[in-house]
């Protein structure tokens, strides 16, 4: 060994910096550091020179100025007199809203399509394969535009709902699809209505406690308690009882045609719906492939072993296949959630006022502060992404196969 290692006691020569494995890594790192520093210095000096030539400076003061523009969908109080910062926060909330809606819908679509693609029904599995290939291979921007076109160019205008024999009618007498958006009923809570909601939430907690109790009973005493029906009963029966006992304190505010437009209820803008559904069906196709791969990744031996132990098919699915499949499904699933959040920035193509539409769109155009707004925009998205991937790591560590 001693003959192979580097000779000792030799005096240091300059060429050793490049050829000696002991020093070479320091040389390379030093060179890399110098290169990066030089690059930044070069870009920075260009920036300074350009800003000086244009008479600009870097400043975030504009965030406090009144924005001067309206936003068609706000989740917090906002007027055109509010500051640019508040406009950005409205945009951020809109981004989060559409992302969360699209994540939930995409998961449902993806799981259903993925499971159906594995069905023994030839026609259904081919149909689902068609869905997956069709949506995966066409840009999401085109899907957003297609659905937006359906919402704006094909849906009837509110005036089509007028008259004794209207051209269009409301779905279930409650929901109106118009080219100005979709009008859906909004729940109205009277003071007692909150009690009903409280009871409902409490019964969800109670059902979880019941399931935990049933599980403990099964593990400790070997007594199998029924769970499905009691859970449903615990969740719904008290809330429904309270609802009627208190005299129906929750009512629906149904949109009505008045003047030139519908009033009442909640308006879902066409751009929100386009973005939401396009992201959901596009990403749903990817999730379907994940789900399929996850279920296929559980080897047949597992299913057969469980069957040999005498488990019924549903229990095999719940206790053996799904927990193992989830380990494969969830990491890419969360990266698809990340993609949805990032792709929601395409809102700017259909005029939905998300973060890109407010901060990176109108604020940028009005103030002309390109560097500041785009840096801020990137930081917002980076924060969302890092939060989601942080949660993903926590989950991954929790379900990771405990290796010996």
């Amino acid at each position: 060994m001693t003959t192979l290692s580097d000779p000792q006691g030799e005096s240091f020569r300059l060429s050793m910096l490049l050829n000696d494995t002991r020093y070479r890594s320091y040389t390379f790192q030093f060179i890399a550091l110098v290169c990066v520093a030089a690059l930044f210095a070069y870009l920075g000096s260009n920036l300074m020179a350009n800003l000086r030539a244009a008479g600009l400076s870097i400043s975030y003061d504009f965030l406090g100025d009144p924005s001067g523009y309206d936003i068609n969908q706000t989740m917090i109080a906002y007027t055109s007199q509010s500051s640019h910062l508040r406009a950005s926060i409205v945009g951020l909330l809109n981004t989060l809203l559409v992302s969360i809606l699209a994540c939930i819908t995409a998961t449902i679509i993806g799981v259903v399509a993925g499971v159906l693609r594995l069905s023994n029904n030839w026609l259904v599995s081919k149909l689902m394969a068609g869905y997956v290939e069709m949506f995966r291979n066409v840009p999401v921007l085109i899907w957003i535009i297609i659905i937006f076109t359906i919402m704006t160019a094909v849906a009837p205008s509110p005036s089509a709902f007028r008259g004794d024999d209207p051209d269009a009618s409301m779905v279930f007498g409650m929901i109106a699809f118009t080219n100005r958006g979709v009008y859906v009923p909004a729940p109205v809570f009277e003071p007692l209505g909150w009690v009903v909601l409280g009871v409902f939430l409490a019964s969800i907690v109670a059902s979880i406690l019941y399931r935990r109790h049933a599980r403990k009973k099964l593990f400790d005493e070997g007594v199998l308690l029924p769970t499905t029906w009691p859970t449903l009963a615990i969740v719904f029966v008290p809330a429904i009882l309270v609802f009627f006992v208190l005299g129906r304190p929750i009512t629906l505010d149904i949109p009505e045609l008045g003047g030139f437009n519908f009033s009442g209820g909640v308006t879902l803008l066409g751009s929100l719906i386009a973005l939401w559904f396009a992201l959901a069906i596009y990403t749903g196709a990817f999730i379907a492939e994940n789900v399929r791969a996850g279920i296929l990744s559980v080897s047949r031996g597992q299913t057969e072993a469980a069957a040999a132990l005498g488990l019924r098919p549903r229990r095999i699915m719940n206790l053996v296949v799904l927990p193992q499949a989830l380990r494969v499904i969830v990491p890419p699933l969360i990266s698809h959630y990340l993609n949805i959040t990032k792709n929601s920035s395409l809102a700017i193509a259909v005029g939905y006022m998300d973060l890109t539409g407010t901060l990176g769109g109108i604020t940028l155009n009005q103030t002309g502060r390109a560097i500041e707004t785009i840096l801020l925009l990137m930081l917002f998205y980076l924060a969302i992404s890092l939060t989601i991937s942080g949660l993903m790591n926590v989950y991954n560590n929790a379900v990771r196969l405990k290796e010996r």
């Binding site: 260009n46 350009n50 030539a53 259904v124 085109i142 990032k342 890109t356």
Partner: protein
């Protein structure tokens, strides 16, 4: 046994019955339909539901396509011909075909140039994609192709792309001479030599020598722009991605952290924000007075974006290699560069191919985003000049359907190729 039967059975057949065909319900199409479509009641319901969906789709789309009008000067003329019947107005595709493919500003007498560049792309890419079928000598053309394609699409003096190509040749020659001493020397020496060559030739002015009519970048558009952005950015991002992946795996903390920060930053922000950077911010960071055109800035940003994703794919490939491969390379006495070039990367890249193709397909689809920063790619052309024109205002489905079809054919083709390649490369003995 036979005694018992001899008394109880009156008659015993002493010859075999000829083989009978299976019952009708247990063979052929009927059996297939029964077991695949109507095996259980829920299955039958699903089948009927699927049939209903198919029927709805077909009954909606079929007359629209079959009654389609292919020859009309405008949408209103189309509607007159249709006279109330359902039918698509595909005449817009026929009339605006060149705009959809090349954008509305590319000089029409020069369409043969991008067209031949497009056809030559197949010649250039064939020996890479089907490396067993085509002779290796064709790779020389593949190496020449980028410069040739640049000349065909943008025009200008032939000497410009020739000099760019010569830079690579000189860089390689210097590399080949120095690599015998050490890989690092050869690598950096080659890069330096190429840079020096480009710096010298960049100062020369080739105007007038072997000229073709010059086409400005802002005049490019249509599906051609998508193809250019897609192929250029994917091919550029693979070497950068490999470098970033190796950097991220490196033992040297500073290099590792530079790569980690770059990759995570790029992966954390949407492509649109990077395109905004290309559109409005990047100009501030370039030397005053320099005039990078928008397409070049966009290529820079999309390449950065794609490299980060490809780096993560390749890192996955590197991590999937068994540790024994690294140790075997070390025990053979190979240095880092040799081990990577000869042992690690060939295997890691092979594992990464499906992932790389996924990124490539995703990137190609994402090139449509440039329409947001008012470049007229296929989607930009449709939403901008064509739908805004008085003749074709309102022809949504034909145009969007065409765009979707074009992307579908390309992306589906690529993904099918990647699956085929995976089977080809699957050299494991099982």
């Amino acid at each position: 046994m036979s005694d018992v039967h001899a008394q109880s059975v009156g008659w015993v057949r002493d010859t075999l019955i000829d083989q009978q065909p299976p019952p009708v319900t247990e063979a052929g199409a009927v059996k297939w339909v029964r077991s695949n479509l109507f095996s259980t009641i829920p299955n039958a319901i699903l089948t009927l539901a699927a049939l209903w969906v198919l029927w709805r789709l077909l009954s909606g789309v079929a007359p629209w396509i079959l009654n389609g009008i292919w020859d009309a000067p405008s949408l209103s003329a189309c509607r007159e011909i249709l006279d109330g019947a359902t039918g698509g107005c595909f005449a817009v595709l026929a009339e605006r075909w060149n705009q959809l493919l090349f954008g509305f500003q590319y000089p029409s007498e020069l369409y043969w140039r991008p067209m031949s560049a497009f056809l030559l792309l197949f010649v250039a890419i064939a020996p890479v994609l089907f490396y067993k079928t085509f002779p290796r000598q064709m790779l020389i053309f593949t190496a020449i192709y980028p410069f040739l394609a640049y000349w065909l699409i943008w025009g200008g003096s032939l000497l410009t792309p020739v000099c760019a190509g010569l830079g690579f040749v000189i860089g390689y020659l210097v590399y080949a001479r120095l690599v015998t001493q050490s890989f690092a020397m050869g690598f950096f020496g080659g890069i330096a030599a190429a840079l020096v060559f480009w710096w010298i030739t960049g100062a020369l002015n080739f105007t007038g020598i072997l000229m073709m009519e010059r086409v400005e970048s802002r005049n490019l558009g249509g599906f051609m722009l998508n193809l250019i952005l897609g192929t250029v950015c994917v091919s550029l991002s693979i070497p950068f991605g490999i470098a970033l992946a190796l950097g991220r795996q490196s033992d040297m903390p500073i290099i590792k952290w530079i790569c980690v920060v770059f990759i995570e930053f790029i992966r954390g922000v949407p492509l649109i924000t990077l395109l905004f950077v290309a559109n409005v911010v990047l100009a501030y960071f370039l030397p005053p007075g320099s005039n990078f055109d928008l397409i070049l800035r966009v290529i820079i940003m999309i390449t950065m974006f794609a490299s980060a994703y490809i780096a993560e794919v390749i890192r996955g490939g590197l991590a999937a290699l068994p540790k024994g491969q690294y140790e075997a390379a070390d025990s053979l006495g190979l240095d880092y560069a040799q081990a990577m070039r000869l042992i690690i990367l060939p295997q890691a890249l092979k594992i990464s191919i499906p992932g790389i193709v996924n990124v490539a397909v995703g990137l190609f689809k994402d090139t449509t985003l440039v329409s947001v920063i008012s470049m007229f790619d296929l989607v930009g052309m449709i939403r901008g000049p064509i739908l805004a024109s008085t003749e074709w205002n309102g022809v949504y489905w034909e145009l969007l359907g065409f765009a979707a079809l074009l992307f579908f054919v390309t992306c589906y083709g690529i993904s099918q190729y990647s699956q085929w390649l995976e089977r080809q490369l699957n050299t494991d003995r099982r």
